[in-house]
Amino acid sequence: MKTLAIIPAYNEEESIVATVEELKAVASAVDYVVVNDGSRDATLARCREKGYNVLNLPVNVGLTAGFQAGMKYALEHGYDYAVQFDADGQHRPEYLEALVAEAEKSGADIVIGSRFVTEKKPVSARMTGSALISGIVKATTGKKINDPTSGMRLYNRSMIKRYAYESDFGPEPDTVAYLVRQGAKVSEVQVSMRDREAGESYLSFSKSISYMARTCLSILFLQWFR
């Protein structure tokens, strides 16, 4: 099975080398592509120095479009599975094999590397948001997803096609909920994640609020008209 790890990178010069080196060492069966999303720092230079496989977007287009570029690459190069893998070191490559194994075994279209299958959700502001999204996903799709905001998601060939062709298909919980409603099968595998090693978190307070608003609105309302 050909599996591609898509590593979206925007200004990740401090962590990109460590992330790719670890991925290559630990999950050597998995191919990877770094999607450099118009970084203004030395992310591209670091990758070129090391001879990494880079998809270089000349201007910054954001995570949704950057990830979609990775999916188009996966489709063109005949991959069976594609997994989103964060550049900042949060995701541990030792779990990739388990995600692929679960997809093979269960025939799931999407396998989520989940922090809360066997582990309990800790109580915090962020996890309250996660629980709220879980709740509305369950209410609208009937499917319980324990860790909807986990970025570590593996997609099979049919999902790769959809992400490659459709617009406004972000690697986000609302898209997953939409796909579930369309009949996609989702499975979760317990993983652990690290705290961010470098750079600033993508989600500041105001961004968290607008993320929650957009996600909830999309799942509850907009996706019925997609």
Binding site: L55, P58, Y73, S167
Partner: protein
């Protein structure tokens, strides 16, 4: 029967300002003729209302507005909202094209 003179003057001045700006943009090739139609019609209707306020009286009476100026305001706001909405849709379409082109450039390096 006469509409507030200040409002009529304001409509005329506004209309000519819009005409001047549109012509300047077209001269500098910063606006295409198709895009200018909306603004020229918009400004043209101001001129008509300023010169023939009877039009505004007749229409606002017919629709039950308290005063013709209210009627003119609501029309202007409605037109601008429609313009804003179509612009928002246009920006979304342009963004999609930009994204597709950016991705295509990146993918071509890899073929």
């Amino acid at each position: 029967m006469s509409m507030n003179v200040a409002l009529r003057l304001f409509l005329l001045v506004g209309a000519f300002a819009v005409f001047a700006m549109v012509i300047r943009k077209i001269r500098k090739s910063e606006m295409q003729s198709g895009d200018s139609v909306f603004w020229l019609v918009f400004a043209g209707s101001f001129v008509v209302l300023a010169i023939f306020p009877q039009v505004a009286f007749a229409l606002s009476d017919l629709l039950g507005f308290a005063s013709p100026s209210n009627f003119i305001f609501i029309c202007a706001i409605a037109l601008l909202l429609i313009k804003l909405f179509t612009l928002s849709a246009e920006v979304a379409r342009l963004r999609q094209k930009l994204v597709a082109l950016t991705q295509e450039i990146a993918l071509r390096e890899k073929r």
